[in-house]
Amino acid sequence: MAALLEVEDLHVTLETSRGPADAVRGVSFALERGETLGIVGESGCGKSMTALGLIGLLPERARTRGAVRLDGRDLLTMSEGELCGIRGNRIAMIFQEPMTSLNPVHPVGRQIAEPLMLHRGLNRAAAREEALRLLDRVGIPNPAARIDAYPHQMSGGQRQRVMIAIALSCNPDILLADEPTTALDVTIQGQILDLIRDLVDERGMSLILISHALGVIAENTRRMLVMYGGRVVESGPVGEVFGRMAHPYTRGLFAAIPRLGDGRARDRARPLATITGTVPELADMPPGCAFAPRCDLAVDACRLAQPPLLSIGHDHVAACIRTDHTVGVPA
Amino acid sequence: MSDWLARAVRHRSFMIGGILTFVLLALAFVSLFWTPNNPYRLNIRMRLKPPSLDYLLGTDAFGRDVVSQLMVGAQNSIVVGVIAVAIGLSLGVSLGLIGAARRGWLEELIMRFSDFTLAFPAVLSAILLTAIFGPGSLNSIVAIGIYNIPVFARLSRAAGNSIWARDFVTASRACGKGAFRITIEHVLPNIVPIIVVQATIQFAIAILAEAALSYLGLGTQPPTPSWGRMLNEAQTHVFTTPSLAIYPGLAIAFSVLGLNLLGDGLRDLIDPKLARQR
């Protein structure tokens, strides 16, 4: 059976003041029903643009190339009208900042009820009833009292719960969460991630979770993609990737995070491992491997041509020709 | 900088506005040295003539050349606009910056003063002033200038407040800099773009207000040519020679349009974020 969502060689080109910039440069992956996929990377790696490209919500002057097939139908060739039927209905989104994603002048109950009336054809009373049930499910205490509250009367965590309720309202097949907890406090972040994980299990939804934090991806998804410079540099099952990190960028990213209680604290002789330099600008991406200028292992071949995705283990691939120096070698 | 120019050339409303404004300025400038005919010379025999080679747009009821009057009228509009905007800009921006720097009762006072002044449109306060001091272009300039003060005061206070909230101002305070130095070194340079944009728009409004006052006979006095008074004088002949009303009308419309487009374009070019917020 074909996968629920197939992304094939997706390219996104943005129109910037400095000319066209390739934000996403050939991303391919497949998502099975009920699967959870994490996309991890730093700012400008193209992870958010990939997500927006999937659902046709890119900035006005962006162009896409490739194919995004949902149950075999290509979303990229659909009209805006057809896409509207997909967005919110079959693919639902949660964004980073719940304050800006909610309309400040409408009570939250109405914002949950709206897609219910639109996509599921419920009448006003039934939609309100359903909204109450959803608010209760996402863990808003005393939903009957909160349904007429405005977004500004809620805390950041509660607003994100409301966003999740809206996303759930039409029983989507895929939940697309772009940094859903980055703006929240640590303890609230845990609550929201737990809620998302429970809901995904409970409803058999697929999840695409986008984050800059390796930890968030590790704990909440089963498969992961690591993106750098608009490309997937490594992908595979989470355990496999963390167990046998192959791409120097993945390894560098992992080594650069200070970890609690690893005995490194205050040991000045052993500073944190760093990746030298900075993320390249989209407009002047180097030819060949985008990570080569920052990579200790880079050889001439890395700078000449984009390395292909090579198999590292079961379902585990990395776009690096120097993996014989990385896999199994301690950092 | 070249990037800025490239964007400017591609920006349609900026280019159209720029060209219209340039034409306005050029006409006024040329008229300082040369006009096709003497705009002040009355010639009863030549009254209400249709366009000809000597009188490109014809003559008015007193036989004066319309083209020459329009050109000299442009001077008048520009002078009124520049001075009125300068009055509003200097006093308004100062008040606004003081308001932003000294939150509290002083800010309240300045803002309530602004509200009070804004309650009287330029034309109304000009009528008030002329009622007291008599008609004349000086009074109309002062009236329009006073009307501009609160506009700039509110704008620069709001923009200044947002700059005061930024971390680089806090950093500057942590260096022990006082409110005055922070205002001059950080706040003012950062709000200049917004003020420039507003100034072009206020310039357009000043031209419009001057035309309105002159039309009512409260602004520029004869014989100095003025677009507003040309409209007024054309009134009596509007059914026989409608073109006399159309030419100054178009001149006003194109100048105001040009300045507004220029302001919009500048806003987009200086700060794309600002344009999106609108």
Partner: protein, 316 residues
């Protein structure tokens, strides 16, 4: 070197009506700690715990309602503007957002040299020399002084901000979430830089962060704050490996771990309580998994639970 005693800061909210009594935000409710020269103290807590208010008061950008902030033996909260200005060269600040903390219309040299303008007016040549030194110490080139902030990446901008804080050779740098806006790979560079600068110049850090791992890496001591109070304090290694306060435990447990054997976490329920109410009992009682009757009755004092390790919990 820095000694904070019983620091309290209440903000008055606008009245809701003419007859309504004014309400207060209790941002800080009696915070005390000491920081020795050349050491680092981490302040950890979630939004609304008062850590940013604390930073502003220590930087003398805000006045405390009550309490003392002694820097090098002097209460800076009691100084007038002129006296304060003379002391400001001893403490500087680094902000969270490297985009908002640098004036976009000034060149880097002018930004970095700004503290010198007021605090140590010098000749042009010496000023240029000092700016070049400060830039070099954070790993930037002297020629970068002529560029504008937008020509730099986030990590480099944060280096510029650190250079500005260093130029007066301060004894204390208050760093308010200095790496949380940066990418992971760049964050490590900046953290290493902060360590290196401390070793070289002996500057003390008051390091405010929500990220326990970052605090563990940078700080000798840590203070955990909740609703305007320090609930646990002590040497970083000990507090984070053997926390006494349930809130510290919850914070530690909430950190997602990047590892192959990721396991589900115990998650703290509820939201951070309101800063508007005055707590009669333990401020954490509403969310505490181990709450008892006495927790609602009296505020637990911050007391020694082990040598150098304090916790404010009845159960500790």
């Amino acid at each position: 070197m820095l000694s904070v005693r019983d620091l309290t800061r209440h903000f008055t909210l606008p009245r809701e009506g003419l007859t309504a009594p004014p309400r207060h935000v209790y941002a800080l409710n009696g915070v005390s700690f000491d920081l020795a020269a050349g050491r680092s103290l981490g302040i950890v807590g979630e939004s609304g715990c008062g850590k940013s208010t604390l930073a502003r008061i220590v930087m003398a950008l805000d006045k405390p309602t009550a309490g003392r902030v002694e820097l090098l033996g002097e209460d800076i909260a009691g100084l007038d503007a002129r006296q304060l200005r003379a002391r400001r060269r001893h403490f500087q600040m680094v902000f969270q957002d490297p985009y908002g903390s640098l004036d976009p219309r000034q060149q880097v040299g002018r930004i970095v040299g700004e503290p010198l303008d007021v605090l140590e007016p010098t000749s042009k040549a010496e000023r240029r020399q000092r700016i070049a030194e400060a830039l070099a110490s954070v790993g930037l080139r002297p020629t970068d002084a002529d560029k504008y902030p937008h020509e730099f990446s986030g990590g480099q901008r944060q280096r510029i901000a650190i250079a500005r804080a260093l130029i007066t050779r301060p004894s204390l740098i208050v760093a308010d979430e200095p790496v949380s806006a940066l990418d992971v790979s760049v964050q490590a560079q900046v953290l290493n830089l902060l360590q290196e600068l401390q070793d070289r110049f002996g500057v003390a850090y008051l390091f405010i962060s929500h990220d326990l791992a970052v605090v563990e890496y940078v700080c000798d001591e840590v203070a955990v704050m909740y609703l305007g109070r320090i609930v646990e304090q002590g040497p970083t290694g000990r507090v984070l490996s053997r926390p006494y306060h349930p809130y510290t435990q919850a914070l530690l447990d909430a950190v997602p771990r990047a590892a192959a054997d990721a396991r589900p976490r115990k998650v703290l329920q509820g939201n951070v309580g309101s800063q508007i109410k005055v707590a009669t009992g333990c401020p954490f009682a509403d969310r505490c998994p181990r709450v008892e009757g006495r927790c609602h009755d009296s505020v637990p004092p911050l007391r020694v639970v082990e040598e150098g390790h304090l916790a404010a919990c009845h159960l500790a």
